[in-house]
């Protein structure tokens, strides 16, 4: 499985539907502190950035875990945590450049994004499509297309003005 969650912060409205859905889906409660995804907002500037687990190829969390509790699900490409092996040391959180692991206050153990076994709920509920689930290759092309639009406008203006 080649799909990843592709994030476009320009589309994020800061609504946090993803946080509410994630915590409900995994923990049966509504609690952003237990959500695997969190939105970082600078409201006054109109900036909202979804922060997710990047499911790294060479994952620092997996490397640093003393009990080797973190392992790869080949089907989804997600890195999972074996709760039985987790000792709640939080080294994964220290090692992660993105702050992806969540510490559950009740168990003091760590949980992380598991891509909802291949049907990520945050993506399902993100109406603005700030989160999309697609191959990384497709995500790249989509971003190139978006960035090229401004140039495309200029090309259209120049050709309609009959410039060489």
């Amino acid at each position: 499985m080649d799909k990843v969650i592709v994030v476009d912060p320009d589309r994020c409205t800061g609504c946090k539907v993803c946080e509410l859905i994630c915590s409900l889906h995994h923990e049966d409660e509504i609690n952003p502190m237990k959500s695997r995804i969190n939105i970082m907002s600078w409201e006054v500037e109109g900036i909202d950035i979804p922060m997710i687990c990047q499911q790294c190829e060479d994952a620092p969390c997996q490397t640093v875990c003393p009990t080797r509790a973190i392992y790869l699900n080949e089907e989804t490409g997600a890195l999972l945590i074996d709760d039985a092996k987790c000792i709640g040391c939080r080294m994964c959180l220290s090692a992660c450049p993105f702050g992806a692991p969540s510490v559950l206050p009740d168990t003091k153990k760590v949980v992380k994004c598991d891509l909802c076994s291949g049907e990520p709920q945050c993506v399902e509920f993100c109406e603005p499509r700030a989160l999309q689930y697609m191959s990384a290759a497709k995500g790249k092309i989509q971003k190139q297309r978006k960035a090229s639009q401004k140039l495309g406008e200029i090309v259209r203006i120049m050709s309609s003005a009959n410039m060489p």
């Binding site: 320009d10 589309r11 409205t13 800061g14 609504c15 946090k16 539907v17 509410l20 859905i21 915590s23 409900l24 889906h25 923990e27 049966d28 409660e29 509504i30 609690n31 952003p32 502190m33 237990k34 907002s41 409201e43 006054v44 500037e45 109109g46 909202d48 206050p105 509920f125 109406e127 603005p128």
Partner: protein
């Protein structure tokens, strides 16, 4: 027994803050009270009815009570972000009033472990309330005195050491007890009834909250399923594209095409020599992206940027009210200046609807020679003016000069002040003001949105308002009951059978109005944003709210059970207003709607018929089980479980 008292959805505690003593009490939420009044506006209204002494008449008295009540689904579901801010005495109407804001604060308060906050008394010095889970305390806010809403927000988040803390604050407007002052969460405004001045009179600058406990759901799988179904329905509504991409500012073009856009203080339908497609221009020239409240897929607010020029600004929430109130209703459409004003007023903590109407009334008086610069400290407030208007806003917020100070007390008393100066009868000035119970009007024109909307405005328990009941009868203009979004099919069928799809039919309209009033009371008690509901022709109706409510709380309410709570809440408010002396004569739309036909456009000649309105109002009172003066009858109150209110009214001889 633990099982009986442990509740899902509700956090289980109401914070009672006694500002005079500097004391905070954590009051356990009575489950029977919760089940009867639901939350949010429901809690606020009943608490204020029970605890406020109606012999106190001054809205700025320490005896006034203010409550901040997030709907009970805030922090529990999608589409629920709304907080109701209620006061026993409003500085604008002089009677009970409330306001509603979309927020992130509501969810955060729930996750901290509280259902609502009630404020009593007055603090000796300026303070703010700091809530961090179990830790609740009043702190010195003297360093925040005079600060704008956005400055206050930034400083308190810094002091909390947490950029994700949430703040509701008043600006200089509230501190200076301007009648049209309001509290906000940044740009999300609790507009109506001037609750900001009441908080200012209590020396309460702000409330900041951070909550980490989350909220447990009684039947989580049921809620997951409900979300999937309802979310899909919401997104497929015919009006979803407009609101999600253009916000309510999208209504400018829609109303303009239908000849419904009020201009020049409701005199006309066209602004001369101005570009017609406002909604698109706003989005294309200044809109950066859409932003939302907590849990909302409609995201109806623009984040905007005016990059250069004298009106350079940035902010969010430029909705229909500001783009119309400082646009066509003010006789001009200078979009960059309007956006500048939006950010400024949110920062000063002033109500855009109220203050835009105050200034537009002055423009109208000016047009007819009833006021001039001798009465406005030299400011020329005429059609299409922006620069003197902006100066006027600052003077109102700071009560600067005689004009700023007098106008700050509300347009009604300002009318008396000017009439006296000019030696003219005050009625000549008052009739220009589009107001009901002293509160000026927002949104649509009572002559054009349907007679049900007109009745809703008239009977609204907080003064002129489009959010209390029917926003417009036009949502009923369907062939088939299934096409009426958000209303149970059997009810829609009944309304269509009565002929209520005709916006100008008076007979039977009271049934639609009462239904929507009860509906809005429930939406405000649960915290559901009305833009998601049949109030705005959208999908989330009683049935969907019941699905959410039952899955969260573990209860099994039918939608009719929910409606009954709405009736209970609405009737409590009506009894409260009756106790304050309001009667039938206070339930009428503005005089001009009965006397001035619309002069131009597709709706030329539209006007309200006084005789028909009288009959409809009488039918409405009968339908409600109230007296001909609009006072809830004994049996009606008893049937709703409001025996205590029945006894209280009898004791006070309000019958």
């Amino acid at each position: 027994m633990k099982e009986e008292t442990s509740m899902y959805g509700w956090a289980g505690t109401i914070l009672k803050v006694y500002l005079s003593e500097g004391k905070i009490v954590k009051d356990p939420l009575n489950p029977e009270f919760a089940k009867a009044f639901l939350g949010g506006r429901g809690f606020n209204s009943k608490i204020i009815y029970d605890e406020f002494d109606p012999s106190v008449t001054d809205p700025f008295s320490p005896e006034n009570i203010a409550a901040i009540g997030p709907g009970s689904l805030c922090g529990n579901t999608l589409s629920a972000s709304r907080i109701c801010v209620s006061v026993a005495r409003s500085p604008i109407t002089g009677v009970f009033g409330d306001a509603n804001l979309g927020s992130y604060f509501g969810g955060e308060l729930r996750w901290a472990g509280y259902d609502s906050i009630v404020f009593y008394g007055k603090s000796k010095d300026l303070v703010y309330l700091r809530i961090e889970d179990d830790r609740v305390e009043l702190r010195d806010a003297r360093h925040l005195k005079g600060k704008m809403v956005s400055e206050t927000d930034a400083i308190l988040k810094e002091e909390m050491n947490d950029p994700d803390a949430r703040v509701i604050a008043i600006g200089p407007g509230g501190e200076n007890r301007v009648a049209g002052a309001i509290p906000l969460e940044l740009h999300r405004a609790a507009g109506a009834c001037g609750t900001g001045g009441v908080l200012g009179s209590k020396n309460l600058k702000a409330v900041v909250v951070r909550g980490s406990k989350g909220s447990k759901i009684a039947r989580p799988n049921e809620l997951k399923e409900a979300f999937k179904r309802v979310h899909k329905k919401l997104l497929s509504g015919p009006h979803y594209p407009m609101f999600s991409q253009y916000g309510s500012a999208g209504l400018l073009d829609l109303f303009n095409e239908g000849g419904m856009l009020p201009t020049y203080n409701w005199q006309d339908r066209e602004v001369k020599g101005v570009e017609k497609t406002y909604s698109t221009a706003l989005k294309e020239q200044y809109g950066k992206k859409m932003v939302a409240c907590l849990g909302c897929a409609v995201h109806c607010e623009h984040y905007y940027e005016v990059k250069e020029g004298p009106y350079a600004t940035h902010g969010a929430g430029a909705e229909y009210e500001v783009t119309c109130g400082f646009g066509p209703r003010a006789g001009g459409v200078k979009l960059d200046a309007i956006l500048y004003i939006n950010t400024l007023m949110n920062d000063l903590g002033l109500d855009i609807v109220q203050v835009s109407n105050w200034l537009n009334t002055i423009r109208h008086w000016w047009q007819d020679g009833l006021i001039d610069e001798n009465d406005t400290d030299g400011l020329i407030i005429t059609w299409g003016d922006y620069d003197h208007t902006i100066e006027a806003l600052k003077r109102i917020a700071h009560r600067k000069g005689e004009f700023g100070d007098k106008l700050a007390d509300n347009i009604m008393s300002f009318a008396h002040h000017v009439a006296k100066k000019k030696g003219k009868p005050v009625e000549e000035y008052i009739r220009y003001i589009i107001q009901i119970k002293g509160m000026t009007q927002s949104s649509g024109d009572n002559r054009l949105m349907g007679v049900g909307a007109a009745l809703s405005h008239g009977t609204s328990t907080r003064g002129s308002d489009h959010l209390r009941g029917v926003n417009t009868d036009l949502w009923l203009e369907q062939e088939k009951p299934e096409d009426v979004w958000g209303i149970p099919t059997e009810v829609a069928k009944h309304f269509l059978d009565l002929g209520l799809s005709d916006p100008n039919q008076y007979e039977g309209k009271e049934e639609y109005v009462a239904f929507m009033e009860d509906f809005c009371a429930v939406a405000d008690a649960l915290g559901i944003c009305k833009r998601h509901t049949p109030w705005e022709g959208m999908a989330i109706g009683f049935e969907e709210m019941a699905e959410y409510f039952n899955a969260v709380t573990g209860l099994n309410y039918s939608w009719q059970d929910l409606r009954e709570c709405g009736t209970r809440i609405y009737t409590t408010e009506k009894a409260m207003q009756a106790r304050f002396g309001l009667r039938r004569k206070n339930d009428y739309p503005p005089i001009r709607c009965f006397e001035e036909p619309v002069p131009t456009g597709p709706s030329k000649g539209a006007i309200l018929d006084r005789e028909k309105y009288d009959k409809m109002l009488t039918s409405y009172y009968e339908h409600r089980g109230w007296s001909d003066e609009g006072i809830p009858k004994d049996e009606t109150l008893k049937d709703l479980g409001l025996q205590d209110i029945a006894d209280d009214l009898k004791k006070r001889k309000v019958v």
